[in-house]
């Protein structure tokens, strides 16, 4: 049974007139206002979708300002960013904001994603919400990589070289594709130009896809920590004012962290090597991506020998690609009828291990390509894929889940009693 929210009622002559012609206030009412009913038992983990949206907004605003001063040319790019830092009014603030904003965007995204896994948010009927989310994650990764390259420091240049090198694994035409993507035999003037155009355009694509994400979510309504669908009017509250207020508190805390980082630790996430201008004739001794790509980078490096007739290089790229795409398969890999991790004790253990495993993978990805990090990364990669492809499909067959309460109300009553 679907709960029926209060319909929008224009209050005066102007809003009545406007509602007949362009129902924008009605749209707001239905999506973010009193017309959207949200389970009343959401915990703080449900704030991170909005926080990712705030981070995206920060990125777009600071990015627009930076684009007014950035010069997309292999000779000028690095210098133009140094000029932004030194000569442009508040340029240092805007650029540090963009750098820190990118990290916080991914931090919010990762928490949002882990929340989805723990509480089974991807399960029917919200598979499409999840799929669009995975698409958003991939778009964010592409945008972040392109933006990082634009700095045209040593790490930027070699990131562009290595990441476009991934295309060269395609059989027969790989090298041609790589040259086509770069517009040259190695990253060059044409590369900076096109990366800038794409980096500028993709955030607006992301914005549009976020619209789809929210649309798909609101079709079924938000989930909640119990994993039980809301059935009664007592189990929900309207978005406005209850969750708007809660989100504002979360946004306040988020901005506090953001400002602390921008003002006191602006370079905490960056590699000092990226303050050396790009040199196409010298690779830094230890290249590594930004922190949010370390786990995937570790997967890429875990394949060191040819096997099953497939070269190590192709395995590495396939493995890294699959480590992202496999998130999109979650709704079909996990068939447990119980949605929330609260009622799945065995799943909870494997999930915690999975989070620890990702941290370990990230740590290995940060280290130089030497032992013991490669071997450790291989074991961590093995568990990463085992969690998705073996543990999640098998668990529903063997796991004895806790009794799932019949309603959200009952579940929350039990929790407060306990």
């Amino acid at each position: 049974m679907k709960l029926s929210p209060p319909p929008y009622q224009p209050k005066n002559a102007f809003t009545r007139w406007l509602d007949d012609r362009l129902p924008v206030i009605r749209l707001w009412h239905d999506v973010m206002g009193k017309g959207y009913l949200v389970p009343r038992n959401l915990n703080w983990l449900w704030n991170f979708g909005v926080l990712a949206g705030i981070a995206l907004t920060i990125q777009i605003i600071t990015g627009l300002a930076l684009a007014m001063h950035y010069v997309a040319s292999s000779n000028e790019a690095f210098n133009s960013i140094e000029a932004i830092m030194r000569y442009v009014g508040f340029g240092w603030l805007i650029r540090y904001g963009h750098m820190v904003g990118a990290s916080l965007f991914f931090a919010a995204l990762y928490i949002h994603m882990f929340r989805g896994v723990y509480y089974g948010s991807y399960k029917a009927p919200r598979e499409v919400v999840w799929l669009i989310g995975v698409l958003l994650f991939m778009l964010a990764m592409a945008t972040a990589f392109l933006g990082y390259s634009l700095v045209w420091g040593q790490m930027s240049y070699w990131a562009a070289q290595v990441i476009t090198g991934l295309f060269s694994v395609v059989p027969f035409v790989g090298e041609k594709i790589r040259i086509w993507v770069l517009g040259g035999f190695a990253p060059n003037a044409a590369t900076v130009n096109r990366f800038f155009v794409l980096h500028f355009t993709l955030p607006f694509v992301i914005l549009a896809v976020v619209g789809l994400h929210v649309w798909a979510l609101h079709r079924q309504g938000s989930g909640n920590p119990t994993g039980i669908e809301v059935k009664k009017a007592e189990e929900v509250v309207p978005m406005q004012p209850y969750y708007i207020a809660k989100d504002l508190v979360a946004i306040g805390v988020f901005l506090l962290i953001f400002c602390s980082l921008v003002f006191f630790y602006p370079n905490i996430f960056t590699d000092p090597d990226n303050y050396i201008p790009a040199n196409p004739f010298s690779t830094p001794a230890h290249i590594k991506p930004e922190w949010y790509f370390w786990p995937f980078y570790a997967v890429l490096r875990s394949f060191t020998v040819n096997f099953m007739g497939i070269p190590a290089k192709l395995w590495g790229v396939l493995g890294m690609g699959l480590s992202v795409l496999v998130w999109g398969l979650l709704p079909w890999l996990d068939n447990s009828p119980v949605r929330s991790g609260r009622y799945r004790p065995v799943f909870r253990c494997f999930f915690l291990l999975f989070m620890a495993d990702i941290l370990l993978l990230g740590f290995c990805g940060k280290q130089p390509a030497e032992e013991p990090w490669i071997r450790l990364g291989q074991w961590a990669s093995l568990y990463y894929f085992a969690f998705f492809l073996v543990i999640l499909p098998i668990l529903p067959l063997v796991e004895k889940t806790k009794a799932v309460p019949s309603s959200v109300e009952e579940a929350e009553k039990k929790r407060t009693d306990a």
């Binding site: 090198g165 517009g183 490096r301």
Partner: protein, 210 residues
């Protein structure tokens, strides 16, 4: 002929009007059967043809937009680099630029040549002898791209102060591929040996790459 046909037609129609009420639905039925059998009536055909032609047009129009991303002429026509190798001592490697990419020119020592020749081809991921990778009578000159065949980093080892890995040639610190003194892949994720670019000796002391 036409007249008589028209007359016949008219005659048939007047017959319909006169009471053969089932004739028209019968014709429709057979039309439907035809459609079911072939799966395509005239309107479907026109739709498919129109969408097909428009699709081909869109594909054609996409060609320039895809092609513009290829290297422009000023980049793609950078074809040749000439290098004087007379000053490179045995054991020394120099890096030169060809088509925006670095190239290693390595003057191998006797020991490095012996090491390279001592390796059994069956031990190699990409089996090639030093002879195959150098010019006849010039096995002491190893010319390779300084681009790791894994993901394109520049391997270390051209300078004696840099690490050369356990096989004495080059080591790529990005993802840990090690190359021997013939520039052949021995360990790590790189799929093939360092690429030997097209080059020739235009005199005993000058090579032309490209």
């Amino acid at each position: 002929m036409k007249n008589s046909e028209a007359k016949n037609g008219k005659g048939d129609m007047s017959k319909d009007v006169e009471g053969h009420a089932f004739k028209k639905p019968q014709a429709d039925l057979s039309e439907q059967t035809d459609k079911a059998l072939s799966g395509l009536d005239r309107r479907d055909f026109l739709n498919v043809a129109a969408v097909g032609i428009a699709g081909m047009g869109v594909c054609g129009a996409a060609i320039p937009f895809i092609a513009q991303m290829n290297p422009s002429k000023d980049v793609s026509e950078q074809s040749k680099t000439e290098v004087d190798i007379s000053t490179i001592q045995p054991g020394q490697t120099v890096k030169v630029v060809w088509r925006d990419q670095p190239v290693f020119i390595r003057h191998l020592t006797e020991q490095e040549i012996t090491e390279a020749n001592a390796v059994a081809l069956s031990d190699l991921r990409d089996p090639e002898t030093l002879e195959q990778r150098t010019k006849a009578g010039k096995t002491n000159w190893l010319v390779t791209m300084a681009v790791c065949t894994h993901l394109g980093c520049i391997p270390q080892g051209s300078n004696s102060s840099e690490p050369r890995g356990e096989y004495g040639g080059y080591i790529c610190s990005c993802h840990g591929s090690a190359f021997d003194t013939a520039g052949r892949i021995r360990r790590g994720p790189a799929p093939t040996n360092l690429v030997v670019p097209p080059y020739r000796f235009i005199s005993p002391s000058v090579i032309s790459i490209g």
